[in-house]
């Protein structure tokens, strides 16, 4: 039992053009990506290789026909939008009308947070660089999920799982966990209902945008459990669980617990350790009800007629996880320190949430935000529909260091952290060393001119003297690590040399 697993995150950022609410956001997003790419020597702009992408493949075992698919589901058709691979193994691109950063593959929750935080710097720098272009009115990026007028955009997590786990078991055991984990990793929101038509604070940014329990869609009728099944790896061994229900976190601790606790719950599902009994009568309704009650007192109905609070649901999973770890399933844990740390923090957070959630004001996003908002309400006598409170909500996620309220709280010593600025800065350019992201990133670092395209599961070289492109598949996420290929990059000055060494020529 371990938190260790191949995983990563993808964040779509909110974007606005200063003083121009009707500006084309697809264009603005493209400018952010291109400005970052050209300023960082990614001029060749290795293209994303879509060969292995199947966004319409459903984990339940069928393919949605392209005719029936909503056009927004077709993410694999290169629309000519900006799309680059970074030397840290991440992907920076435009998805719909948002700039998006997908972290490289990592193996621990802490690493996912580290490379996601590096992505915040990438995004902010891209926006700054694009704002310096002649005639630009200035571009602002926000790490949030809603405009409070009906639109939502995602912060997704990806977890590689064993293929042989029945999907029904995933749905059964993950749904109550996902419905309740917002009390730990919700980002907080001023406004209720998708269009913000009701005033008030709620725990989650995304909760109100979820309408069904299980489904393939990600842009409409959003499901608590998303069935997209593109493993980007050997499909006979792996599935990639694509999680769309999370909020974009600024808090390092919240993001860490989000990834860590979810990975532990998945480990228990893989081992068949969970026995059920927590099925919710109405998961979607429960998700909304929990989000709307920041006193955490709301009890939701279970299938068997009992009622239970979100905190008690989380305690149930934590207690199972603690028992599971104690039993030492699956041998030695290479990330034992982090597994224990996730369990300890999870327990500490749940304990304090039960006593007084405000104790978490310097650890969790929704509490930090609520604490600020309540202070404003008290000092200035503001109702929940006051524009200033909406502004605090929005500006919490502003990526500009001087304007972003989360960042101001950090600098004022009012948010606890897990990471140092130095390591985040390093992760902007360096890939994780223990996944195939290392190979991808190092190829981009050492031979940028020779990489024609890349994706999660391949790197494609354009080598001198060859008419056709040469594709190196990277279907195994735990190969291509520093241990496997680090020496090759030191031994070969050219992509040709590397290619010959790998292919045994």
């Amino acid at each position: 039992m371990t938190v260790r697993r191949v995983m990563g995150s993808e964040v779509e950022y909110g974007i606005s053009v200063k003083g121009q609410p009707t500006a084309n956001q697809m264009v603005a997003s493209t400018q952010v990506v291109n400005a970052y790419a050209s300023a960082h020597g990614l001029t060749r702009r290795a293209r994303w290789d879509f060969e292995e992408e199947n966004p319409l493949r459903d984990a339940r075992g069928f393919d949605l026909s392209r005719d029936r698919a909503d056009p927004t589901q077709l993410t694999d058709e290169d629309l000519g939008l900006a799309n680059v691979i970074l030397t840290n193994g991440a992907r920076l691109y435009v998805d719909h009308a948002h700039p998006e950063y997908s972290s490289p593959e990592c193996t621990t929750p802490r690493d996912v947070v580290l490379w996601e935080k590096a992505g915040e710097l990438v995004m902010q720098r891209g926006a700054e660089l694009a704002s310096q272009l002649p005639g630009s009115p200035g571009l602002l990026v926000y790490k949030n999920n809603v405009d409070n007028k009906g639109a939502s955009y995602g912060a997704h997590e990806n977890y590689l799982m064993r293929r042989d786990v029945p999907f029904g078991a995933i749905v059964e055991h993950l749904t109550p966990f996902f419905v309740s984990r917002q009390v730990v990793c919700g980002a907080g929101r001023v406004g209720r209902q998708q269009d913000g038509s009701e005033s008030g604070f709620q725990i989650s940014q995304r909760a109100d945008y979820f309408e069904v329990g299980v489904g393939l869609e990600t842009t409409l009728k959003r499901p608590i459990i998303n069935t997209r099944d593109e493993p980007h790896a050997d499909p006979s061994k792996y599935r990639r669980l694509h999680v769309i229900i999370g909020d974009a976190n600024l808090s390092e601790i919240a993001a860490y617990l989000k990834m860590g606790t979810t990975s532990l719950v998945l480990a228990m599902i893989e081992a068949g350790f969970l026995t059920g009994g927590l099925e919710l009568a109405q998961p979607v309704k429960a998700l909304h009800a929990i989000s709307h009650d920041f006193t955490l007192q709301t009890a939701v109905e279970l299938d068997d007629g009992r009622t239970i609070t979100a905190l008690d649901l989380q305690w149930s999973y934590l207690e199972k996880a603690a028992a599971f770890v104690e039993q030492g399933h699956e041998g030695e844990d290479p990330a034992a320190g982090q597994t224990k740390d996730v369990l300890d923090r999870w327990e500490s957070v749940l304990t304090r949430l039960g006593e007084d959630p405000m104790q978490l004001r310097d650890e969790l996003d929704w509490v930090a935000k609520l604490s600020l908002l309540e202070s404003y309400r008290e000092r200035d006598g503001l109702d929940w529909d006051h524009a200033k409170l909406h502004l605090v909500d929005l500006q919490y996620a502003d990526m500009r260091p001087e304007k972003g309220l989360y960042q101001r709280l950090v600098r004022a010593g009012r948010m606890k952290r897990l990471l140092s600025d130095t390591e985040i800065e390093r992760a902007v350019t360096e890939p994780p060393e223990d996944t195939r992201a290392y190979f991808r990133g190092q190829c981009l670092t050492h031979y940028p001119e020779a990489v024609a395209a890349a994706s999660w599961d391949s790197v494609i070289f354009d080598l001198p003297g060859r008419d056709t492109l040469q594709r190196i598949p990277t279907m195994e996420p735990l190969r291509g690590t520093r241990e496997h290929v680090g020496a090759l990059f030191e031994a070969h000055d050219t992509a040709q040399g590397l290619f010959d060494a790998i292919t045994g020529r």
Partner: protein, 69 residues
């Protein structure tokens, strides 16, 4: 739930003990602490007032996004 009843899981009990330990530390005068906390909150609100966008209503209204995933 076990947490609320007498049959608490080991995990839960442990946390309660730790919590008790933490509370043993000598505390400042309560009123003094509250005053310090209020000053603290005032100072962070003042700092944030300085960086909040002007014309909150206009700024919030013009933040319009297209839906994403």
């Amino acid at each position: 739930m076990a947490r609320d009843g007498g049959q608490q899981h080991k995990t839960t009990r442990k946390s309660t003990d730790e919590q008790d330990d933490v509370q043993v530390e000598p505390s400042e005068d309560v009123a003094e602490r509250k005053e310090k906390l209020d000053d603290d909150i005032d100072s962070i609100l003042d700092e944030i007032d300085d960086v909040l966008e002007e014309n909150a209503e206009e700024f919030v209204r013009s933040f319009v996004q297209k839906g994403g995933q």
